[in-house]
């Protein structure tokens, strides 16, 4: 019975995500669904915007719907974002930080592609059974790349850096190390 209920709940949940709710939303609803500890909510909380929402005058800084709008779950509209940010920031500041952020993410994408290139090579050379380490490092890398994107989007230095770029460096070099181990193991066996 309990298992049946679990399956039912699972499908309900899955269908809810297949068709994200249309809103309108409040910040509290966003946080309840996404989870207070999720990278998106935690990173925003640590940003100056998140901090000001918590301790300063209401409305002084944007929460979730302040930028994503109450409708959310829709593609972002850059022109509208310019207007939102422009309430407090100059057009030059917005443009400079956006360009820099895009670049920062692109540098992260480079790390991801470098890792994927090597992983693709390894996938062609070895059976899936021995690739667990490399695959795990790549999964970790993708998580950290997401942190980086969120850190850039939410202006959260901690997510850009400690949960982002240096974490990606670790994934990349460990993935290379795992590939090295495979090659060295293979060479030792074939001797």
């Amino acid at each position: 019975m309990r298992r049946l209920l679990a399956i039912l709940l699972f499908f309900l949940g899955a269908s809810a995500f297949a068709q994200p709710p249309a809103g309108p939303f409040t910040d509290a609803q966003c946080i309840a669904c996404h989870g207070a500890e999720s990278a998106e909510v935690h990173g925003w909380r640590l940003s100056k915007h998140g901090v000001l929402v918590r301790i300063s005058t209401p409305g002084r800084a944007p929460g979730c719907v302040g930028c994503h709008t109450a409708a959310a779950h829709r593609p972002a509209d850059a022109a509208r974002m310019d207007q939102t940010c422009g309430r407090c920031h100059s057009p030059r500041y917005i443009a400079t930080l956006r360009a820099n952020g895009e670049r920062m993410v692109e540098v992260g994408n480079m790390k991801q592609r470098e890792a994927l290139q090597l992983l693709t090579r390894a996938r062609a050379e070895f059976s899936a059974a021995v690739l667990a380490d490399m695959e795990a490092h790549y999964a970790s890398l993708q998580k950290h790349l997401r942190n980086l994107r969120l850190g850039v989007a939410h202006q959260s230095p901690d997510y850009q850096w400690w949960h982002g770029h240096p974490a990606l460096d670790g994934d990349l070099l460990r993935l290379k190390g795992a590939y090295d181990d495979l090659l060295r193991g293979h060479a030792a066996k074939s001797k």
């Binding site: 301790i55 002084r60 850096w161």
Partner: protein, 450 residues
């Protein structure tokens, strides 16, 4: 014989003296020269700043590039910007600057200047023009060395990884390290509220994450729990002094009395390296801490807490040194793979350098050993910088769970490092590093585009 050798020795002594004086002068000259490049800091000649740097280090990098020109007085700024950037004006209107006690309004132009074509991006010296006491206290931190707010920019730009990496990547560093140049890290613009800066959340944008989980450890402590439960009801307009708050916050202890000086009481200095906590200087600081805690606690109890912090550190160093010994052992036996001379040469490394050496331990630049290293070195970096510092912060902020977690992680990391070291030894002399260690989209880009 003795009569003839004495003048000769005196001549040598003069020679040594002259060479020393010249060497010191040349050293100063070299440092001054190396700081004169387009970047900033010791390696300023090796990198070009990003445009975004202007917002984090305005004195060095900001140039106004807007199209607007003309000469404006404060009320005119407010009139236009009420429509252009209403959020900024609303913040300013709510600030002390808009209605100071002495009646002399501090308008936009007081900080940004009147000439719109040459607008100034204010930094600490602009604030210091009026807030001289706070600015002087802040600058005084420099006497105490790292870590401190006042030296944070130097800390960032003088780190090898700042030079080595693409500048868009290390913009992430400057956002927090800009605390050395700007006051709005804590007193957010354009409200610049003291009450806001007294709350612990004002610190957590930067004081969070694996190397300094100040947020987590404080909020998990008895102090933090009380703050989380009741803090919203406290009167934050009150100064940070005895009797005004039911529990201490970051600023209450680290900036007691509102003194803008966070470096003068530091004993363990972030837990980055082993220190003697009982030097005469540290004895003075211990007394200051005990006096601080005695606002609420018994002095003897406070002394015991400090001794507890020392005890935690005493348990940490042997673990770190054991890991360091493993790594240095591998280094001397040429077993680290890839070895230093097989890694992609970054601007600070000479390609094919004769003395390329892996950086192991605090004094060799361990804090940059998170990229471009072999996996086992990265393991040690995380043990030292994440697990160790996390445990330290737990001990310093009264979060025993974080201490236990940190030490458990350090023990596991040490075991892993030992095991990996054993494997490396069993594998024997490593092959030449494969070309993909120095190639790849990011690695290749980084070699030339930073």
């Amino acid at each position: 014989m003795s009569t003839s050798s004495r003048p000769r020795m005196a001549r040598y002594a003069w020679g040594v003296l002259i060479v020393t004086v010249l060497a010191i002068a040349a050293g100063y000259g070299w440092v001054a020269w190396s700081k004169g490049g387009p970047g900033d800091g010791l390696y300023s000649r090796q990198w070009q700043p990003n445009k975004a740097f202007g917002y984090w280090h305005p004195a060095h990098f900001y140039r106004y590039e807007g199209a607007m020109s003309g000469h404006f007085e404060g009320p005119q700024c407010v009139e236009c910007h009420s429509a252009l950037t209403p959020g900024v004006v609303a913040d300013w209107r709510a600030s002390r600057h808009a209605a100071p006690k002495d009646g002399k309004t501090v308008y936009c132009d007081s900080c940004h200047g009147n000439d719109h074509a040459k607008l100034r991006m204010p930094d600490k010296t602009v604030c210091g023009g009026c807030h001289a006491t706070q600015h002087a206290q802040f600058q005084d931190e420099r006497r105490f060395g790292f870590p401190s707010h006042a030296l944070a920019i130097e800390r960032a730009v003088d780190a090898p990884h700042f030079v080595d990496k693409p500048k868009a990547e290390v913009t992430a560093c400057l956002q927090c390290h800009s605390v050395a140049s700007k006051c709005d890290s804590c007193h957010t613009r354009h409200l610049f509220s003291a009450a806001e800066a007294r709350r612990p959340e004002a610190c957590i944008t930067c004081h969070s994450g694996p190397p300094h989980p100040d947020d987590e450890t404080f909020f998990a402590s008895a102090h933090g729990k009380r703050y989380l439960a009741e803090g919203d009801q406290w009167d934050w307009s009150k100064p940070l002094a005895k009797g005004n708050y039911k529990a201490p916050t970051c600023a209450y202890c680290h900036m007691s009395g509102g003194k803008h000086q966070v470096a003068d009481k530091t004993i363990w200095k972030f837990g980055l390296q082993e220190v003697n906590p009982l030097t005469s200087g540290n004895q003075v600081r211990r007394k200051q801490w005990v006096a601080m805690c005695s606002d609420c606690h018994d002095a003897e109890w406070s002394r015991q807490q400090l001794a507890g912090l020392d005890a935690e550190r005493k348990r940490a160093w042997p673990l770190l040194y054991a890991a360091e010994r493993e790594l240095k052992g591998l280094r001397s036996d040429d077993l680290l793979h890839p070895s230093a001379d097989e890694r992609p040469p970054y601007p600070l490394d000479e390609p094919g350098a004769l003395f390329a050496r892996e950086r192991i331990g605090y004094f060799e630049g361990q804090s940059s050993a998170f990229y471009n290293v072999s996996p086992i070195e990265r393991d040690y970096f995380e043990m030292w910088y994440f697990d160790n510092l996390g445990a330290y912060k737990g001990a310093a902020h009264g979060a025993p769970d974080a201490v236990a977690r940190g030490h458990e992680k350090m023990n596991t990391a040490l075991e892993n490092i030992k095991q990996k070291a054993q494997t490396l030894r069993q594998q024997g002399k490593p092959p030449a590093a494969a070309p993909w260690w120095v190639e790849g989209e990011y690695t290749g880009h980084n070699k030339v585009n930073n």
